[in-house]
Amino acid sequence: MTGASTSLRLSPTLAFSTVVLTMFALIALVSLVALPQDPFDFITDEPLMPPAVGMWLGSDYLGRDVLSRLMDGTRITLFMALTATLLAHLIGDTLGLLAATRGGFVDTVLSRIVDIVLALPKIIVGLVVVAALGSSVWVIIGIASVVYAAGVFRIARALGNDLKEMDYIKLARSRGEGMGWILFGEMLPHVVRPLATDFAIRASFAILFMSSLSFVGLGVQPPMADWGGMARENLGGLSTNPLAAVAPALAIALVSIALNLLVDALDGDARH
């Protein structure tokens, strides 16, 4: 146990991911209270102006402050990703564990539905739904939570099925214990960690998925912008202010990489 915790403390990748994730979480919180500039105000007449004093990342294609929009976008991006992942886990964990413990008809029906969802390319599902319903923050969150709930279901069901074979679960059942005790008393403590790990990796998928939709112009709609949207709208200004497009794309990469490194470190730790 002590060995495991030392290896956790020593890992530079873990330190990196913790710092990055904390930083963006703080930025998102700060953006609720105050921003350097109004993210929707046309501050300067000069669009795509390079960085300058007071506009540390320059201006965007409409002359708005990139830094303020980036901070505002942090909040939107993280909120959407976390909400979608949370919903995906609420749906997927509940149904997955239910399918594992109940088995039979419930399991078969849910598993087949999940097979279908997983057999479709997520981005195409997203495009079709946007074509049908139009694009809004909640439509995007809805799409992401449903497509990712299918993957979560698989994980939760597999965990449940493994646990079900454990003698302590079988003995509890043979004692006559009810479903409540089996699920919450015996199983829950075992699934918390793997599901938390899955949450982190799933959140990174969700960020990439939602940003991709925004990047192709079918996600969050202007004037509101998440990081993917910002990267898109400023793509034309690579020669004058490349930061306007690169900074938000870099932010996405940083958060996604940090989440992946975190999971990698946690997984390696769990293997000890």
Binding site: M166, D167, R173, S174, R175, G176, E177, G185, P189
Partner: protein, 558 residues
């Protein structure tokens, strides 16, 4: 004149986090000599055996000392030198052949691989040598069997391929790590005999790792007793068995003798059991797959009867695949029989526990083999025991605490264990908690399914003594399921022998075990290792005479 093949000097190995695993080991193995390393699990014997080949598992490092194999310092030798030595100067025989053969390579290719890599034999020579060895080790169709994949042969045959692989390059030393522990007793005798013969015929030295003193006594010229990473005692086999100097060795031998057929004679007269059966199993057929006409598509039990009287210990014996665990699960209500009935004190029990009454579920309790999966590792022992008390008896709070302390005392564990997690206690202690949990329900019938088979000899002996004491003190009726006749001999009043899902013999244990009638039972009895030199040859001879008799009655291939 003795030439040292292996010289280990003050060897120290620790985990990368600094925990010592081997603590100053020194030993030598000379030409033609078989040195046995005996010790409990965790004593470091496998680490030592692998170090002889210059191999440390991930997470381990050598902190001092030396290992010299045929004059080469193995701890510091560069990889190409190690690769040249391994297989050729010293070969390795792993415990589980099923896991140690690559599932996607043909067995023959794996056997000759190191000879071809070392260029010690030409391809033609290597094939010929391998075929000779297959024949020598009594593998069927030696010229063709090498083209098979591992999953196409039986466990006993795989272990022989492993021995052939170890002999291929006629090494000076064979390192055998529990080479027969994964086998059934009846198979073990044959593999042991072949291994011993091979070592003698090739004048090979061997380092033989085992937890079983009786097995070791058959094959070793010298024995080193290991405990907690150090050698407790080292000496000739004769001396270690008959005149041990250290207390630990004496304890080991005592446990070994206690768990042997000899224990039958030393048993006190058993308690008078009441005449009527408290539990009876009638014509139970069970298995897996779709049931039609009372028969499942894959049957593991074909009409089994069992009678258990009050306060009696009845043993059910069988090798892997005999259906003994299925029987335990049928009685416990974890596995619904396809047909047949289980009755307890006159009440017919429903097939599955869900349909049984709470009282019926309480009266039959099951303790299972793997204590690791039997106890929820995320629950403290207080919660594990407390839940059963609350569930069956509604006892909570101070009363529950008092009762839990009583239960711990019953299984000889100290009170502060209530705050521990299962991961913080030893295998034997887990098995005690396993029993304590069953006792918390206040059962009448306790089913013990292989509860000692994962334990070391000394600890197993203690658990057996505990089970016996529980019967005497609490008046429990016990169904004791095991593959190990020696364990059973020391505890059971009556014995039922299962083979391929059928009862082949049943009766008083003294009668069944001392004068078995069925040839299979006779083979089983003859296969129990005894702590005397020369037993192996007797057992092998006995096996040869019984083999033909058995072959005619054997429904499936071994």
């Amino acid at each position: 004149m003795s030439t040292n093949i292996l010289t280990v000097d003050d060897l120290r190995i620790a985990t990368t986090t600094g925990m010592p695993v081997l603590d100053g080991i020194s030993l030598r193995v000379c030409r033609g000599e078989v040195l046995a390393l005996i010790g409990a699990s965790g004593s470091g014997k496998t680490t030592l055996a692998l170090a002889a080949l210059g191999h440390l598992r991930p997470g381990l490092r050598a902190t001092g000392g030396s290992v010299r194999l045929d004059g080469v310092e193995m701890l510091t030798a560069p990889q190409p030198v190690l690769n040249r030595m391994r297989g050729r100067v010293a070969s390795y025989i792993a415990q589980s052949a099923a896991a140690a053969f690559n599932p996607r390579m043909r067995l023959g290719d794996q056997v000759v691989e190191s000879a071809l890599l070392h260029r010690s034999q030409s391809a033609v020579q290597a094939r010929a040598r391998a075929q000779d060895l297959f024949g020598y080790l009594s593998l069927p169709n030696p010229d063709r069997i090498g083209t098979r994949f591992p999953y196409q042969v039986s466990g006993g045959q795989l272990q022989r391929f492993m021995i052939a692989m170890g002999l291929q390059e006629e090494p000076l030393l064979m390192v055998c790590d529990e080479p027969t522990s994964a086998l059934d007793v009846t198979t073990q005798v044959e593999v042991m005999r072949l291994l011993k013969q091979a070592i003698l015929d090739n004048d090979t030295a061997a380092l033989f790792v085992s937890h079983d003193l009786a097995v070791v006594a058959q094959i070793a010229t010298r024995i080193a007793v290991m405990c907690a990473g150090a050698i407790v005692e080292i000496g000739d086999t004769e001396q270690i068995i008959n005149a041990p100097r250290e207390d630990y060795t004496r304890e080991l031998i005592a446990a070994c003798q206690h768990l042997s057929l000899g224990a039958l004679a030393q048993r006190p007269a058993r308690l008078p059991a009441s005449a009527d059966a408290t539990l009876s199993v009638k014509g139970v057929v069970a298995g897996y797959g779709k049931v039609s006409n009372g028969k499942p598509s894959i049957a593991t039990l074909h009409g089994v009867d069992l009678e258990v009287r009050k306060r009696e210990i009845v043993a059910v014996i069988g090798e892997s695949g005999s259906g003994k665990t299925t029987l335990a699960r049928v009685i416990a209500g974890l596995h619904a029989p396809a047909s047949g009935a289980v009755t307890m004190s006159g009440e017919t029990l429903a097939g599955l526990d869900a349909q049984r009454t709470a009282a019926q579920r309480r009266r039959i309790q099951l303790a299972v083999q793997m204590a690791d999966t039997a106890l929820n590792p995320k629950h403290r022992l207080r919660r594990i025991l407390g839940r059963v008390l609350a569930f069956f008896h509604g006892i909570k709070g101070a009363a529950a605490e008092a009762r839990m302390l009583e239960l711990l005392a019953m299984v000889s564990l100290p009170p502060h264990y209530l705050d521990r997690y299962p991961t913080e206690i030893s295998g034997g202690e887990k098995q005690r908690i396993n029993l304590a949990r069953a006792l918390a329900a206040e059962p009448e019938i306790l089913i013990c399914d292989e509860i000692t088979s994962a334990l070391d000899t000394i600890v197993a002996g203690q658990i057996i003594a505990l089970v016996k004491r529980l019967r005497d003190e609490l008046g429990l009726t016990i169904i004791f399921i095991s593959h190990d006749l020696a364990t059973v001999a020391s505890i059971a009043d009556r014995v039922t022998v299962l083979r391929h899902g059928r009862v082949v013999e049943a009766g008083e244990s003294a009668e069944v075990l001392s004068a078995p009638k069925d040839p299979y039972t006779r083979l089983l009895v003859a296969s129990v290792p005894e702590l005397r030199q020369g037993w192996l040859e007797d057992a092998a001879a006995m096996r040869a005479t019984l083999a033909t008799e058995l072959e005619t009655s054997r429904p499936g291939a071994a």
